[in-house]
């Protein structure tokens, strides 16, 4: 192949999602990405017959190898399982080759076509027996698919001679689990009084409560696991959602996740004007009310000492909590100073008053939800989260406080409709 021209064309990757129900009842969801790469080699030499032969045979074998190694790198099964796996991969290749059969038959003397089909099989459901990790990739070091048939590797694959059951099995969750700051402000005290373990509802953290509300509004069933360590999340922020299939959804992915999984039809779709307004009010809440709430939570010393610290750092040792809260406070100061030149309490609260007034006007007196809808939207989730956290915040009776930490709640309570709105949502979506 000294002098030749190569022409490589790649088709757009095709993604298929296949759902299979196995006999034992587990649902296996496969994502199959098929991408056809066609390589045309224009050879001027006459020894094409040999090359051609090689290429036509390699279409099937390379495909098997790639499919094979992918199946190993993505799902690690025991040696017995892996042979099944490779068979499945083979089948898939065959099916994709039927699709791309025309490309293969496009051969003529001097012009040969090489088709490589890459099939990536991602098993989104972890099979119950995950073992012998990476053993497959070791075999593929020695010449790909044929290595599996080598007597030496067949001998090796017999080991271990005896297998005992896994010492640790974590049952797969049935419902998505949301790792979030939970439960709400008052729940801790209630829990102490009533002996029976109540279901965890609500949160003292706006972000956690916002997404809880959003999921609930879209009728997605999930359970809440209290978590206080943001580092556990892939995004470094709580909350995040762990799905039964093992994948994780962080704040960036909630919206898309809800759209895919919500059983609701899009009847409550906002029109263009409403969508624009929704964005505006979301921004308003997230900038103006957020600052006032953050200030109240973290910088009103008596309030911080009495509630915020216990909720965010209560699970830590006292010494460690002091250190961590110092770090967190300085992080918050830095993030606040990114958007403002100074942290001025009066200014922050003035802005919050304006924002809350605007929300009260927009909601109106008769509407159950924003924009007069029957079903709550994303904006409702955000506004509710702020109002609920503000309104349920424990009251501080302290000389130094002098009612300062309750100021935000008083501002909200001035608007009867906002107060009612928050209460209604809580009763309707959370209390049951």
């Amino acid at each position: 192949m000294s002098d030749h021209e190569e022409q490589v064309t790649a088709s757009e990757p095709r993604v298929e999602i296949i759902e299979e129900t196995l006999p034992d009842g587990t649902i296996v969801r496969r994502k199959k990405t098929t991408r056809t790469i066609t390589k045309r080699v224009l050879t001027s030499r006459s020894s094409t017959s040999e090359v051609e032969q090689e290429s036509s045979s390699s279409t099937s074998s390379t495909a098997v190898i790639t499919g094979h190694s992918h199946s190993h790198s993505h799902s690690h099964n025991s040696s017995q399982g892996s042979s099944q796996e490779s068979k499945q991969a083979r089948k898939e290749i065959q099916s994709t080759q039927e699709n791309t059969g025309s490309a293969v038959s496009d051969q003529s003397a001097g012009v040969k076509t090489e088709t490589t089909t890459t099939t990536t099989t991602t098993k989104t459901t972890a099979a119950t027996s995950n073992a012998a990790s990476g053993s497959g990739s070791k075999f593929s070091l020695f010449g790909g698919g044929s290595a599996q048939d080598h007597p030496f590797y067949r001998f090796l694959a017999r080991f271990p001679l005896q297998q005992s059951p896994a010492p640790h099995v974590r049952p797969r969750p049935v419902r998505p689990i949301m790792y979030a700051y939970a439960p709400g402000w008052m729940a801790a005290q209630q829990q102490e009084s009533s002996e029976k373990a109540p279901q965890i509802v609500g949160s003292f953290d706006v972000d956690s409560l916002k997404w809880m509300a959003y999921l609930k509004f879209n009728h997605i069933d999930f359970e809440i696991k209290p978590a206080f360590e943001p580092t556990m999340s892939p995004s470094g922020k709580l909350p995040f959602l762990a799905l039964p299939d093992g994948s994780l959804v962080t704040a960036d992915g909630f919206e898309a996740f809800v759209q895919e999984n919500s059983p609701m039809t899009s009847s409550k779709q906002l029109n263009l004007d409403e969508a624009a307004e929704s964005v505006a009010f979301t921004t308003l809440a997230e900038s103006k009310i957020h600052s006032a709430l953050t200030y109240t939570l973290w910088f009103e010393a008596p309030h911080f000492e009495a509630t915020t610290r216990q909720h965010y750092f209560g699970h830590h040792n006292r010494l460690l909590a002091t250190l961590l809260e110092y770090l967190e406070k300085s992080r918050i100061v830095h993030s606040m100073l990114l958007t403002r030149t100074q942290i001025d309490r009066e200014l922050i609260f003035d802005e919050a008053v304006t924002a809350i007034d605007a929300l009260a006007v927009e909601l109106g007196d008769k509407n159950e939800y924003f924009f007069g809808k029957d079903e709550p939207t994303g904006l409702d989730a955000i506004v509710f989260a702020y109002l609920h956290v503000i309104l349920t915040m424990p009251k501080i009776r302290h000389v130094d406080d002098a009612g300062r930490s309750g100021e935000l709640a008083r501002i909200v309570r001035k608007h009867e409709n906002l107060f009612r709105y928050s209460q209604n949502i809580w009763k309707k979506w959370f209390s049951t």
Binding site: A131, G134, P160, Q162, S233, H316
Partner: protein
């Protein structure tokens, strides 16, 4: 502290010196043999060349020599004092000389003697940089050591290292002998470390802390008592981290007392051919901090050999972590098992409870190994190359708080992971290297198996 390799010339010179010294001593000994029990007292000691070393420190070392009552004792005790001085490692070259008093008034006193000691103090500052490999870890380091800082053989060292398993480590340590006794050491350590455990379990760990250590020798062996305060953070779970690992993320504070006892009677630690070794580590955590546990670890090894170069060695290791506050243990405190230096035929830390690709560690483990080293065909005259046959077994289980001991023992004995294999061992002066072909015979379904060739490089092997 890596020992500096002396050149052959140095060795020869040293040997010659020693020989001369011994000859001289022998001559003196035969000379004084008939007068050895005559009463004699050490009048004074003159020390030449000690500029940086504190007088009170030297005083303590040399004081016992004044107790001598006869010539025999004078010689014995002053030699002991000099040997003690050598052991601090701050003097490079020590010479001693016994002489009759120079004082003209005492010239005729035959029962008094002066001791002169000539020393050369080593340089204070030592800077080292280099690369290290050991215990499945490769790292590069830079260290600065100040010896004899306050004139009492105190060592101040700061070091930093970057490696594969310990992604970064900074350490500051001040060590001092107590009461001018080279066997009693007190040290203060401050350290900050980032450990990358993603090879077997998708998380990293950051450690910051300090410790106060006291080590001493007793007739039974080496003891080390320590208090350690640690701020640990399990962080940065990788993308594929399992939920159990994610749930372990976060900060914790450990404040613990530890005691280590080492009884080492082996001829050498890397590839012992004879002797035995016992190490016991106990830890009590719960002096403040949010972990409360008792942690025990026992390790024992026996080695025997014959004239033909065959060595049989057997070792057992076991550990138990008992939670005292009824909470499940944290991953930072748990034990891990498996790998080329532990139970061979399995991946590093690949045994025990696992979830997905992550080893979760366990609260109790037992591992045992038998090795037969044979002369390597064709290289039987080379002691450092050996053929190696082994059988390893190990089991690692988690213990729920409040679980009965019988259940734990039952779990430990129920399903051990067993492997056998053969290979070659090479003993480098600083490290032992093994290349084995290992076959796991019994394994749990989730164990991370490594069939076939496995390379082990380290100091302590099962």
């Amino acid at each position: 502290m890596a020992a500096k390799q002396p050149t052959p010339e140095e060795l020869a010179a040293h040997r010659k010196q020693q020989q001369e010294f011994e000859e001289a001593v022998h001559r003196i000994q035969s000379l004084v043999d008939n007068v050895r029990h005559d009463p004699m007292k050490l009048r004074k000691i003159t020390l030449h060349g000690a500029n940086k070393t504190r007088e009170s420190f030297l005083h303590r070392i040399l004081q016992p020599a004044f107790q001598a009552k006869s010539l025999h004792e004078v010689i014995g005790l002053s030699r002991q004092a000099v040997r003690r001085m050598e052991r601090f490692g701050i003097f490079e070259d020590i010479k001693m000389q016994l002489d009759s008093p120079h004082d003209p008034w005492l010239q005729d006193r035959k029962d008094l003697v002066d001791l002169g000691i000539w020393i050369k103090e080593g340089s204070r500052l030592q800077i080292r940089t280099g690369t290290e490999a050991g215990n499945a870890e490769a790292s590069m380091y830079g260290a600065m050591t100040l010896k004899n800082v306050f004139g009492g053989a105190e060592t101040l060292s700061t070091s930093m290292a970057f490696g594969t398993r310990t992604s970064s480590a900074f350490q500051f340590a001040l060590a001092t002998p107590l009461l001018a006794d080279p066997d009693k050491n007190l040290s203060i350590n401050l350290f900050s470390q980032a450990r990358n455990n993603t090879q077997w379990s998708s998380y990293e760990e950051e450690l910051k802390g300090g410790s106060l250590k006291y080590s001493t020798l007793s007739p039974l062996g080496y003891h080390e008592f320590a208090y350690e305060g640690n701020w640990r953070e399990v962080c940065r779970p990788s993308e594929k981290a399992s939920l159990s690992i994610r749930e372990q993320c976060g900060h914790s504070l450990k404040s613990a007392l530890t005691h280590m006892w080492v009884h080492d009677m082996r001829d050498e630690p890397l590839m012992p051919s004879t002797g035995h070794f016992v190490r016991v580590i106990q830890e009590y955590a719960g002096l403040g901090g949010d972990v409360e546990h008792l942690r025990q670890e026992v390790e024992a090894q026996v080695a025997r050999s014959n004239d033909k170069g065959y060595i049989v060695s057997a070792s057992v290791k076991s550990g138990y972590l008992h939670s005292l506050n009824g909470k499940p243990s944290k991953i930072s405190d748990r034990f891990f098992l498996g790998g080329p230096m532990s139970v061979r035929g399995f991946k590093s830390n690949g045994l025990g409870p696992r979830e997905g690709e992550d080893s979760l560690g366990g609260d109790a483990y037992v591992s045992a190994g038998v090795s037969l080293m044979t002369p390597f065909p064709g290289l039987s005259d080379r002691e450092s190359f050996k053929g190696h046959f082994f059988a390893n077994a190990g089991t690692l289980v988690s213990v729920k708080p409040g679980q009965s001991a019988t259940k734990t023992i039952d779990d430990l004995t129920k399903a051990p992971s067993v492997s056998v294999g053969a290979g070659i061992v090479y003993r480098h002066p600083q490290v032992r290297i093994e290349l084995n072909f290992a076959l796991p015979l019994m394994a749990a379904k989730t164990d991370a198996i490594s069939r076939g060739w496995q390379l082990g490089l380290g100091i302590s092997f099962l």
